[in-house]
């Protein structure tokens, strides 16, 4: 019995001898704490970056007129799709992937199923992204990106291209004069346009029709810088969809 006990003690003795002889020490606790902190920092950072990308997407949606697709032919829709914030969608997916990976590698990350990991990351990104969008973070980050990344075509630039195609029925510019049923605008290329058929056009509620106001128009080019307008919308966003037809007699400075 005593011999057996001695044999049993033989193995731990070997281990203790190795530890002592090779002077093996336990890794300090702070190393593990630092690793955990690093994992959570990476998670927080990726969630923040994903949220910023999501805020830009919200900003882009706000600035886009999705309702105009109904006016467009195939090539117009194609062009419109190019306005979609693909790069920001890619960013959101990348950062979400990184956030999920950091949860998986966190201390207790294995406790969450993949569905929970995805839900947590997506939920946090959407909530924070919406908050950042409300606070103007989407617009700000888009601008910062535009200034610092030369190859990046900003939403504003893409939008200007989209709305500078009078031959296809899309025109935009600043109102330079407005009198009764006559309006002139100056487009982004500095050209002056006479706008006709104002009285029968649809004007979104947000449009004030004042000098200096930036607007976008849907209609038809009649040549010689004359544009017959069907719809007038504010430059920023889609305006209020409760816009009215001038003939209905509900609203309008031209009445």
């Amino acid at each position: 019995m005593f011999k057996l006990k001695l044999l049993a003690m033989d193995n731990p003795k070997k281990i203790i001898d190795i530890i002592k002889n090779e002077n093996i020490r336990p890794t300090p606790g702070w190393v593990f704490t630092a690793k955990r902190l690093l994992t959570w920092s990476i998670f927080s950072m990726t969630i923040l970056l994903g949220s910023l990308a999501f805020a830009v997407i919200l900003f882009t949606i706000q600035e886009s007129d999705f309702s105009i697709t109904s006016h467009m032919g195939h090539s117009g829709v194609e062009f419109f799709l190019s306005l979609l914030p693909i790069i920001w969608l890619v960013f959101v997916v990348i950062f979400l992937g990184m956030a999920i990976l950091s949860i998986r590698n966190s201390w207790k990350g294995y406790k969450f199923s993949l569905l929970k990991q995805v839900s947590i990351s997506v939920g946090m990104s959407i909530a924070l992204g919406t908050l950042l969008f409300i606070l103007g973070g989407g617009k700000w980050i888009e601008k910062v990106y535009d200034v610092n990344v030369s190859s990046y075509e900003s939403l504003e630039e893409r939008k200007q291209n989209m709305w500078s195609r009078p031959d296809e029925g899309y025109l935009s510019g600043t109102i330079s004069s407005i009198e009764d049923n006559n309006m002139t605008i100056v487009d982004f290329n500095g050209q002056q346009w006479r706008i006709t058929d104002l009285e029968s056009s649809f004007i979104a509620n947000a449009v004030m029709l004042e000098n200096g106001e930036l607007i976008k128009l849907i209609g038809e080019s009649e040549g010689d810088n004359v544009f017959s307008v069907k719809e007038i919308r504010p430059w920023g966003g889609r305006g209020n969809n409760r816009g009215i037809n001038k003939n209905s007699g509900v609203r309008g400075p031209l009445q």
Partner: protein
Amino acid sequence: MLISKDKCDKLTDRQMILKALEDVDYFTCMYLRYESQLKRYILKISKVTPQEAEDILQEAYIKIWRNLNAIDPSMKLSSWLYRIIYNQTISNWRKKKGAAIITLDEKVAQTIFEDLENKDSEEINDRAVQKAINGLPAKYKDVIILKYFENMNYEEISDILKIPEGTVAVRLNRAKKAIKKALH
């Protein structure tokens, strides 16, 4: 000087860790307390000889010593030790040696019968269940071993295999279905 088993028995797992961090000789206690069950576990998950199991245990205990400060206080010490042993065995030995052939004792066989809710249990012999378990894919077999042979609960299995408890339940359920299917 090694610490006697009697002295070790008086310590809780937590006290044992704290004492070991102060005095390496107390690390003996951790070995003595879990050696037999960990060695038995190694032999169940990998086709190694008892001597090789000793070697795995030794390598794993050096790793345990190095990571003694990483122990999660919310996790049972035994779960943490099983996790290290499992990883050590899988990564270094099971690939080379393959999975072990499990032998079923009467008590474990009875528990599995009951859990399978098999009405024809009298007709099924231990050997058939044993064969069915040994024919399971490794990920199902790992869960069966921890549940029925090591008497671990879902939380402990989740901590050892680093998978969500829901996944433990799913794997266990699928393993049982596969055993049932193999029996008929």
